[in-house]
């Protein structure tokens, strides 16, 4: 049974002017802090077992939710590269799975477009216990919402779709993985100190440029190349496949025009 504040919250949510598109409720622009809060609220209001499909365009994450808690990831779109996470339970003490879930959600939040949610009857039986992640747990894991990657950086990464393994945002010297599998996300995050040293030395040699890309080899697993991009005010580090430097150079020339 709900207590009074919970009940009033539910009534308020049910009576507000919700906007629907193709049966999915519009939560707001992906990446906006209020949208992330709306996602957490929608999970917190879900008691009965439901598959909640959070989508931005063709990218989606389906979370199996019951008793106000995310129990597992039921499905994801292929572009989020998180097939290994599907079906795995997510609990606070299962750090790898929780971090992978956070990476997938950040990738979805960073997409360009409007984020929607569609509720479906749960495809599998779900626990009613205290396992899974509640609103507070998810909020801690996700941290502050990432800034959506838009404009020229988005175009650059779109041009490199076939060779792009993942990327992370750089803000205040910290690297926050957005897209890529768990191993790559960890490797990108660990590049912080290396990039701090290289960028300082490079700046002493070349000075600062408003828009630039610096590519390093041998710092990521599997022969991937790391590209530190500063473009039109956005800063990211991208990982692309071994041998992809010509494609990156061409894409850079188009994006930096």
């Amino acid at each position: 049974m709900s207590d009074d504040p919970q009940l009033s919250g539910k009534i308020e949510a049910l009576t507000q002017d919700a906007v629907f598109e193709d049966g999915a409720m519009v939560l707001g622009p992906a990446g906006a802090p209020e949208t992330t809060q709306a996602i957490l609220r929608s999970i917190d209001m879900t008691m009965l077992p439901r598959d909640m499909v959070f989508a931005v365009g063709t990218s989606f994450v389906t979370l199996a939710v019951s008793g106000k808690r995310v129990r597992h990831v039921a499905d994801t779109s292929p572009d989020l590269m998180a097939e290994g996470l599907v079906g795995q339970p997510v609990n606070v003490d299962e750090t790898d799975a929780v971090q992978s879930l956070a990476t997938v959600l950040r990738a979805l939040f960073a997409a360009e477009g409007v984020l929607t949610v569609k509720r479906q009857t749960a495809s599998t039986a779900l626990d009613a216990g205290t396992a899974g992640l509640g609103q507070q747990d998810l909020s801690k894991v996700l941290g502050p919402p990432p800034v959506a990657v838009t404009g020229s950086v988005s175009t650059l990464m779109g041009d490199l779709y076939e060779v792009l393994g993942g990327y992370a945002q750089i803000a205040d010297g910290a690297i926050t993985p957005v897209k890529g599998d768990a191993d790559l996300a960890a490797a990108l995050e660990a590049l912080g100190p290396k990039w701090a040293a290289v960028s300082q030395a490079h700046m002493r040699l070349r000075g600062t440029a408003a828009d630039s890309i610096v590519t390093l080899d041998g710092v990521l697993p599997g022969g991937s190349l790391a590209h530190f991009v500063s473009l039109k005010g956005a800063q990211v580090v991208m990982a692309t496949a071994e041998g992809s430097l010509p494609e990156v150079a061409l894409a850079w020339a188009r994006a930096a025009r």
């Binding site: 890309i213 610096v214 590519t215 080899d217 590209h227 150079a249 061409l250």
Partner: protein, 111 residues
């Protein structure tokens, strides 16, 4: 001759402005293409940039909106490297393999 090999790659690639064959261990520019417009100071800076960015790898790049610097390290001799200055419009899909083949040839010759 090494310079002939550098000249051929540079002349065959529209947008290639300079090629410098360098020794990373001493940070010394050994040979450049004949028509490079770069000063010795600029080439020395390019060599220092190569040593910094090729620290752990075989290939690196530093680019702005105006220029693309590509750095290749020789597999045969880890001290040998090729530094390339190109315009953004260069066809890198043909240039990079050609520069790698050139480096393989001249690094073997210079050993």
């Amino acid at each position: 001759m090494v310079q002939d090999a550098l000249d051929k790659v540079c002349n065959d690639t529209q947008g290639c402005e300079s090629l410098a064959f360098v020794d990373l261990s001493t940070r010394m520019v050994l040979v450049t293409n004949a028509d490079t417009p770069e000063s010795q100071d600029t080439l020395n800076l390019l060599c220092a940039e190569a040593a910094l960015l090729l620290d752990e790898g075989q290939i690196a790049m530093a680019a702005t909106a105006d220029h693309v610097h590509v750095f290749l390290r020789s597999a045969a001799d880890q001290s040998d490297a090729l530094c390339c200055i190109c315009a953004p419009g260069t066809d890198f899909t043909t240039f990079v393999p050609a520069a790698q083949a050139c480096l393989t040839a001249i690094s073997g010759d210079s050993a």
